[in-house]
């Protein structure tokens, strides 16, 4: 029998993993607060007030304020990410309007894809049109990358945030690495 009690250590998936090729840089982003928010239209105003930003109601759009971003995923579904100190779960806790907020901070991990080859890198596995005309800065969508589901957010002309479930993170990072090699070639 083990005679020492070890404290549980939570290792963020792919922590510190990076890759660089000509014109493309991949990096695992630091841990962040995340919630999966479901709410009917009638509750949106109250939740927006509590979260401090206006929840987007148009498909494929996001809203940002400070360190917090709310991504439209479906007609009554948002992914709220906050890489600052304030947990959006706490902010929703006081809202009495009907909603469901589930903390998923550790379910997801995020990879940043930046550089002039960022678009072609993500396009290697994502079947959506990622041109700036169809997927402008601030656009976001749940979609797929290769064989894995991702949530994609365009943070700048040449920068994407790829969110995936942590159990897929090795696959997604490796896929993007191969794609980045191709994009820079």
């Amino acid at each position: 029998m083990a005679d020492s009690v070890q404290a549980a250590v939570r290792n963020p998936a792919q922590a510190g993993r990076e890759f660089q090729a000509t014109g493309v840089k991949l990096a695992t982003l630091p841990p962040a607060h995340r919630i999966s928010l479901r709410a009917p239209a009638a509750s949106v105003a109250a939740l927006s007030k509590a979260l401090g930003l206006t929840l987007p109601e148009k498909p494929k759009t996001s809203a940002s304020k400070g360190s917090r971003t709310a991504l439209w995923l479906g007609p009554d579904e948002w992914l709220v990410i906050d890489d600052g100190a304030n947990d959006p779960l706490q902010d929703c806790a006081g809202v009495e309007a009907l909603h469901s907020a589930v903390g998923i901070s550790h379910r997801n991990m995020a990879i940043s894809v930046t550089g002039q080859g960022a678009e072609s890198t993500v396009s290697a596995g994502c079947p959506q049109d990622l041109s700036l005309a169809a997927f402008p800065v601030g656009a976001c969508s749940r979609t797929i990358l290769g064989k894995s589901e991702i949530v994609l957010l365009r943070t700048a002309d040449e920068a994407f945030r790829v969110e995936c479930w942590r159990s897929f993170s090795d696959y997604v990072f490796t896929f993007l690495t191969e794609a980045a090699r191709d994009a820079s070639a």
Partner: protein, 127 residues
């Protein structure tokens, strides 16, 4: 890749984001226990499976995750129209082409209609 219009995302999305979810407009009885075995069989097992236009449920599973309905031609795989779940069957007037769906489905007398006619071979002795 086939593009399917999601009525919730309001745009055409690649087919990889979608999953078929069976025939649409199969109404579930409000009093399940009261219906006969025959009616239950019809509701539960029997599907129309037509060659041609079918009304189907689809799910934008790797997108907004919503179920919606679509009218699709099972021969050409062409989506005629998609609409939100709960909406009535749309009028397909004007959307359905009367042309045969595919070349192989043309009746024999319409095959090779564009083939130029050859001049009949001259018989011996003709000028």
């Amino acid at each position: 890749m086939l593009l399917i219009r999601c009525p919730y995302c309001e745009e055409e999305r690649p087919e990889l984001e979608f999953r078929n979810a069976g025939e649409a407009h199969v109404a579930r009885s409000t009093d399940m226990a009261a219906i006969s075995d025959d009616d239950f069989e019809k509701f539960f097992f029997i599907r129309s499976n037509p060659k041609g236009i079918i009304f189907e449920r689809w799910r934008h599973i790797h997108g907004c995750a919503r179920f919606f309905n679509a009218a699709r031609d099972t021969v050409t795989d062409k989506f005629l129209v998609t609409y939100k779940a709960g909406e009535p069957k749309p009028d397909l007037e004007g959307l359905v082409s009367n042309e045969p769906a595919a070349y192989a489905n043309r009746p024999p007398d319409q095959l090779n209609v564009k083939k130029p006619r050859r001049a009949p071979a001259k018989k011996k002795g003709e000028a």
